[in-house]
């Protein structure tokens, strides 16, 4: 149905796609697999008309096409569900669907549009209320709204960018069921992903990209996790994280019946009870927006506690400021590295100094000492900084994260709170961050690891707490539980606490 032949796309200084060929048949779910920066997004941006290829040809149903704009792509039946949904929140599902659609009358009849949307969603088994406003919908429902939007525009080729990143395992299963149904009705489905297990379980064919080149296309039935990893990374990778047995010391963090408000003034954390001991990693699982950010901010002292108690090493720090939390040995590695974590326009030395400025008792900065300490961190963690005097915003995600984590670790913290530390990193940087977190655990620090990736949580955590609607659904031992159980808890099912 779609053929992309020898596509090359250059950006200043980068060869984003190098003679990539890729084809999808009608009725097929085809995965596009690769690490960050492998060229998946560029290739799909070309197919959706955002970028124009420098070389190569696109054929749809056998005829060559020239896609000059997203409008052209839509006209050729290509539709994409972006990772960040393109929905207008105060509008209803139907209003979002007719937005920018040709053939809608200037004075439209929303009722009849509601009906045709409802009919189309029934046809594909996508449960959705056309007249409910987007802001009332769950993430999974919003995704269905996006899919219906594309189908309404007559798409025959659907591209989904990391569609399961924001879903619980059960929701992800439902999504693939829907996708299979659409494929059976003759659509071609392209799924961009980096989740091996998911791709292996639900697709028909897999094309792997690496460094802008196509490594090859395999039939899903005829391949294995090992082979795919080798294709993605170019060398065999240790999939299993080697972990020393846990050696718990004293209680570091105690949260007792703790409640806190979210940004909208509602309770985002309700009666949280959680203890973390020195020498262990406690993972926090949950669908994004269920209180993870608030939990991290409460522990770091950035968010006020409404009720309950917070203790570090036995000292009551319920009312402590961020500075007092830092002095108590709490270190925070936030989700946005280049916002809360580091100052984009300052250089590596200045960013390194931000946390250590109290160590300059005279009030004057000893730049020589700072330069030396920064150089040590850069060397120790193998951070690629072309010039420590350049603004850090020019560094890649992996190097930023290493710099940030390196800075935090250099203070020998008692507790490290880290949110989505591996998000957007390539496999190499991920391995480094993993081993750094494990090293800190073995040193005796307590680690609070918040993540959306269950595989990552299962590999690293000694105990796993699941958040849903601001409440802890249970604390489990990852070695004695399954993805399915945790998935059910993420969806709101309570489990007896063990482990």
């Amino acid at each position: 149905m779609v053929e992309m032949i020898n596509i090359t796309k250059r950006f200043p200084g980068i060869l984003a796609n190098d003679r990539v060929s890729f084809s999808v048949k009608a009725g097929e779910i085809h995965a596009l697999l690769g690490e960050n920066g492998a060229g998946k997004s560029t290739l799909m941006s070309i197919l959706t008309g955002l970028y124009r290829p420098d070389e190569g040809e696109i054929r749809i149903q056998g005829t060559p096409v020239d896609l000059q704009s997203p409008r052209d792509a839509v006209a050729h039946g290509i539709g994409m569900v972006h990772q960040h949904f393109k929905l207008v929140k105060p509008f209803t599902v139907a209003e979002n669907i007719i937005l920018g659609l040709k053939g809608i009358k200037e004075v439209y009849n929303l009722k009849s549009i509601d009906e045709s949307v409802a009919q189309l969603s029934r046809e594909y088994g996508l449960h959705i209320q056309p007249d409910s406003p987007i802001w009332q919908l769950s993430v999974g429902e919003q995704q269905r709204a996006e899919i219906v939007k594309i189908l309404f525009r007559g798409a025959e080729i659907l591209i989904l960018d990391e569609p399961t990143a924001v879903l619980t395992p059960q929701e992800a299963k439902d999504l693939y069921k829907t996708l299979r149904k659409m494929a059976d009705l003759g659509k071609a489905i392209i799924v961009i992903s980096h989740k091996l297990s998911e791709v292996l379980a639900h697709t028909d064919a897999i094309t792997v990209l690496r460094g802008g080149r196509s490594v090859g296309t395999v039939r899903t039935k005829e391949t294995s996790e090992m082979e795919l990893t080798r294709m993605m990374v170019g060398r065999p990778v240790m999939l299993e994280t080697v972990k020393n047995p846990v050696n718990r010391s004293s209680k570091v963090l105690e949260l007792h019946n703790l409640s806190a408000l979210g940004n909208r003034g509602q309770f985002a954390l309700k009666e949280i009870n959680l203890d973390i001991y020195g020498g262990e990693i406690v993972g926090i699982a949950g669908v994004a927006g269920n209180g993870q950010r608030e939990l991290a901010e409460v522990v770091a002292g950035l968010r006020a506690i409404e009720r309950g108690q917070k203790k570090v090493d036995g000292n009551d720090l319920t009312l402590a400021s961020p500075k007092q939390m830092i002095q108590a040995g709490v270190s925070y590695v936030p989700e946005d590295r280049l916002g809360t974590g580091l100052v984009p326009n300052l250089n590596a030395m200045e960013n390194y100094l931000l946390k250590g400025v109290q160590r300059m008792p005279s009030g004057f900065i000893n730049w020589k000492q700072v330069a030396q300490e920064t150089a040590e961190v850069i060397k120790k963690y193998d951070i690629k900084v072309p010039n420590p005097k350049n603004p850090v915003k020019m560094l890649s995600g992996g190097n930023l994260q290493k710099l940030l984590l390196g800075r935090e670790i250099s203070g020998k913290p008692r507790l490290i709170v880290t949110m989505y530390p591996m998000r957007g990193l390539d496999v190499g940087a991920m391995e480094t961050i993993r081993s750094l977190l494990l090293q800190e655990r073995d040193r005796g620090a307590a680690v609070l690891l918040i993540s959306e990736e269950l595989e990552e949580l299962f590999a690293l955590s000694d105990r796993l707490a699941v958040l849903h609607g601001g409440e802890v659904m249970g604390v489990v031992d990852p070695h004695k539980t399954t993805f399915e159980d945790v998935g059910l808890m993420m969806a709101g099912k309570r489990m007896a606490a063990h482990g």
């Binding site: 509008f91 920018g100 659609l101």
Partner: protein, 310 residues
């Protein structure tokens, strides 16, 4: 006796509220597309002086109104260029526009102060409707521009909530990235709304110098542009509620005269303060409400849109 005073108060309240209403409707349109224009006061002043000058030389108040609308649109074009194309800070750009408009109108009108004008908009009672007791006296014994403003309320409401273009406009103000992805021209819609908003501000100014006052005085808007900006928030970006607000503010504005005529002794400077005190009070109440409830402002308001920074 008592009744006629109340009727006179409410009737002049409608007239005094009309310039605020025109300006507020313009600002609603602008802000619905996601652009904050704090230059309303400046655009009104330039509209007022332009309308006055043109009417004096052509002896046609409709021509004066038309040119005031054009002048307001041109003033808004400056803001559109700065805030949409150059992505400047909208607060700074809007404030600059007000300062520029104040100076420019003072300069253009320095020989017009105190000059009488004969060709003005005069009350035309509407046959039938004006006979209705109370309502007829309050709403239907005014000049043509008041009736036009009534019409505009419903046209703007219908346009925003019932038409495809209105839907696209609101989408641009809420989520320009989503609108762009849906093939809507964000820049064209924003330009059109800012300019149309300025045209309505120009008309608001012309109403002051051609119907309400009718004369030219330096700084004759006396903060009405700012009240209009506050009214947009009070009206939660809805034209129907903006009408209630402008009527309310107009009535407070003229209350001083009425109180003096019935012999209540209140210092005049206090009465002149009333509309501004109410503006502050309204802003406090509404801001508290928007925090707790979902009567939120357009989400992308005052945020420049940059396609590359999605």
């Amino acid at each position: 006796m008592e009744q006629s005073i109340w009727l006179a108060l409410l009737s002049t309240g409608v007239v005094a509220g009309t310039p605020i209403l025109f300006a507020a409707l313009g600002e609603i349109l602008t802000e619905r597309a996601g652009i904050l224009n704090l230059g309303v006061e400046g655009m009104m002043l330039v509209g007022a002086v332009t309308g006055f000058m043109v009417t004096m030389s052509t002896h046609n108040q409709w021509m004066g109104l038309l040119m005031a609308i054009v002048a307001g649109g041109l003033m808004a074009l400056i803001h559109a260029f700065l805030s949409i194309t150059l992505r400047a800070n909208q607060v700074v750009s809007g404030l600059a526009l007000t300062i520029f408009g104040t100076g420019l109108s003072g300069f253009l009108g320095k020989d017009l102060i105190g000059v009488p004008l004969t060709d003005t908009f005069k009350p035309i009672p509407i046959a039938g409707l004006s006979e209705i007791p109370w309502i007829g006296d309050i709403l239907f014994k005014h000049d043509a521009l008041v009736y036009i403003s009534y019409g505009l309320i419903f046209i703007l409401w219908f346009f925003l909530y019932r038409t495809k273009t209105g839907l696209e406009l609101r989408a641009v103000g809420e989520n320009p990235a989503a609108a762009d992805a849906a093939g809507i021209n964000v820049f064209a819609i924003r330009y059109a709304c800012v300019i149309a908003g300025g045209m309505l501000a120009g008309a608001a100014g012309a109403y002051l110098s051609l119907a309400y006052a009718p004369s030219w005085l330096e700084n004759m808007t006396a903060g009405r542009g700012w009240i209009a900006v506050a009214l947009v928030i009070f009206g939660t970006w809805n034209p129907l509620r903006a009408f209630l607000g402008s009527f309310f503010f107009g009535t407070i504005d003229v209350m001083g005269f009425t109180m003096q005529t019935i012999g209540i002794q209140i210092p005049s400077f206090f009465l002149k303060m009333l509309p501004y005190i109410f503006t502050i009070a309204v802003l406090i109440v509404v801001t508290r409400e928007t925090k707790t409830r979902r009567v939120a402002s357009p989400e992308a308001l005052s945020i420049p849109y940059n396609r590359e920074e999605r």
